[in-house]
Symmetry: C2
Subunit: 335 residues, 2 copies
């Protein structure tokens, strides 16, 4: 039931190579020959063996996308866009889930990389630039945020600017005791560091003193962590009139905790997030957030990768930035 070029060739009465030429759309094939071959292909339901083709060509047509966790909505939404953008170039996307640990990420970066895929789009959490130096030649594009400039192409957004703008939005609503949720002390927390920098910059712009007690850490950025951090803030006795959460899932957790504490959003506490995941458009209340252009990020990443795969692999790393938009909703504006 599984046929090879040879079977098609015998059936059509031509050489193996002619069948290969038909399959690959080579122009110099007589119309009647082509027709005979195509008929044979259809009759046998022939499909090329990709392993053999890859072996011969040195290309697989598969790129990998490595993300920390698939069931974090931001990454799931990003994955969809990457798959779509890659499909337009005829690529298949192999999605890999690293778990976000440094060791696992190192394995993905060095191991998966070899021979099965043509390139890698990698959204690391814990990996540092030095983990990546010295990896052999598989083209790689990094997503997300980094403080230091590493050895690979990179697509990100201006985290500091975005965090600053959404904090300024809270200030503009007259809030003065603005908390932040999601800070991280670990060296890996690049996003956290940048968003915190934007937050403090906005406070400084408004002449508000930075208050350490209003900044709550969150080791991971899941809903549960946001809820826990919010509860901790409330329990500590600080009375914020607004919270900037470093991503939307944290914010949804914070909404939940505020609800449990009997506080009204946004009347008592305004809440803002970051990422614009779909949940935030239907939550109660809907969530004000920074909406990065995920489609653009995905497209830029795929295009950068295409450039590396087909083109110059030794060119200096490129740093691209995708746009974002402040998207105020009920959790700051009310209904």
């Amino acid at each position: 039931m599984r046929h090879r070029l040879k079977d098609v060739a015998e059936r059509a009465g031509v050489s193996v190579k002619t069948v290969s030429n038909v399959v690959n759309g080579y122009v110099h094939v007589r119309p009647d020959t082509r027709a005979r071959v195509e008929e044979a292909i259809a009759e046998l339901n022939y499909r090329p063996n990709l392993s053999a083709r890859n072996l011969r060509k040195g290309r697989t047509g598969v790129i990998a996308l490595a993300v920390p966790e698939l069931d974090i909505p931001y990454f799931a939404e990003l994955a969809r866009h990457v798959v779509t953008a890659a499909a337009e170039l005829g690529w298949t996307v192999l999605i890999d889930q690293t778990g976000g640990g440094r060791e696992q990420e190192r394995v993905v970066a060095s191991g998966i990389t070899e021979h099965l895929i043509d390139g890698l789009i990698f959204s690391p959490l814990a990996l540092t630039a030095e983990d990546l130096t010295g990896l052999d030649g598989t083209p790689m594009v990094l997503l997300g945020e980094r403080v230091d400039h590493g050895p690979a192409d990179h697509v990100g957004i201006d985290n500091v600017g975005a965090a600053r703008e959404i904090t300024a939005h809270l200030v503009g609503l007259g809030r003065r005791r603005i908390a932040a949720i999601g800070s991280q002390r670990t060296p890996e927390g690049a996003s956290a560091r940048l968003r915190l920098a934007g937050y403090t910059a906005a406070l400084a712009d408004a002449g508000i003193d930075y208050d350490e007690g209003l900044v709550a850490p969150a080791s991971a950025w899941h809903r549960a962590d946001g809820a826990a951090a919010m509860r901790a803030l409330l329990a500590s006795g600080v009375r914020p009139d607004a919270v900037f959460c470093f991503n939307d899932t944290l914010a949804l957790g914070a909404l939940r905790a505020l609800h449990e504490a009997g506080l009204r959003v946004p009347e008592d506490v305004a809440v803002a997030g970051f990422d614009d995941i779909e949940d935030g458009r239907f939550s109660v209340p809907t969530l004000s957030t920074i909406a990065p252009d995920k489609e653009r990020i995905a497209r830029l990443a795929v295009e950068l990768l295409a450039g590396r795969i087909d083109g110059d692999r030794t060119a200096p790393p490129r740093e691209l930035s995708a746009p974002w938009r402040l998207t105020p909703r009920e959790s700051t504006l009310g209904r």
Copy 2:
């Protein structure tokens, strides 16, 4: 920078096959030979070429998981479990997103299937049993619900029973005007049909008349569809005191619409969903739902697939069922 068995062999002063034997853990290799080879492997940073290995072995070590959409939380959570279960067997999972259309699903079932993967775990929306007959031998396991028994192994849950139980839960709370959201008229809507059957069965159990006007269709099962269906129900003048939504995202949309209409949940209207996605554990209010054992589903699917790949491909299709649990939360019980 990219080395082959041959390079390692030359460096270690042995034959290519001996290196291959070392790489594959063949026992009859003298310890000092093995050491020399391993040293050479390390020095050259050799990695096997998977395409060549696959070509030779006829196996790729990759299975595909095809789901309608990655950013539907249920599928994202399922994907995580499948990746985890497959990793334990040393498999890589290629995740494919079909979009849920019948034609696209047919392409995935027949096309992706060939030569790049050893097997396929497929969660179809629109595909019917007859679309699948006559596909050549790539082992396949189907997830989700089907009315008719097709030509492949299948893992599902007892939709009718689960829907009946959660509807009975609403009845048990004293609700009598229980609406349903998510019905579908299309032949593809197998889940919808089964869950509707469970709903009507529970009503019959309780001696409540079935009211067509309380059943709202939803072509897709996203949050927006749930919100729209809920608004339509309210606008039609029926005054339900409970709603059973056929999945959690519909329910979250319905919560949103009820909130906008100024109705309290669960005091005015109790809301129940199906799937137990993480969002429902943090929504306001938290969502009562049916929690299918997703980890079990994933594990069963991977094991069934392993059986097909390694074992008898002609055995009759197997039908497995995973357990589920009624999980009442605030949206029916209150706080």
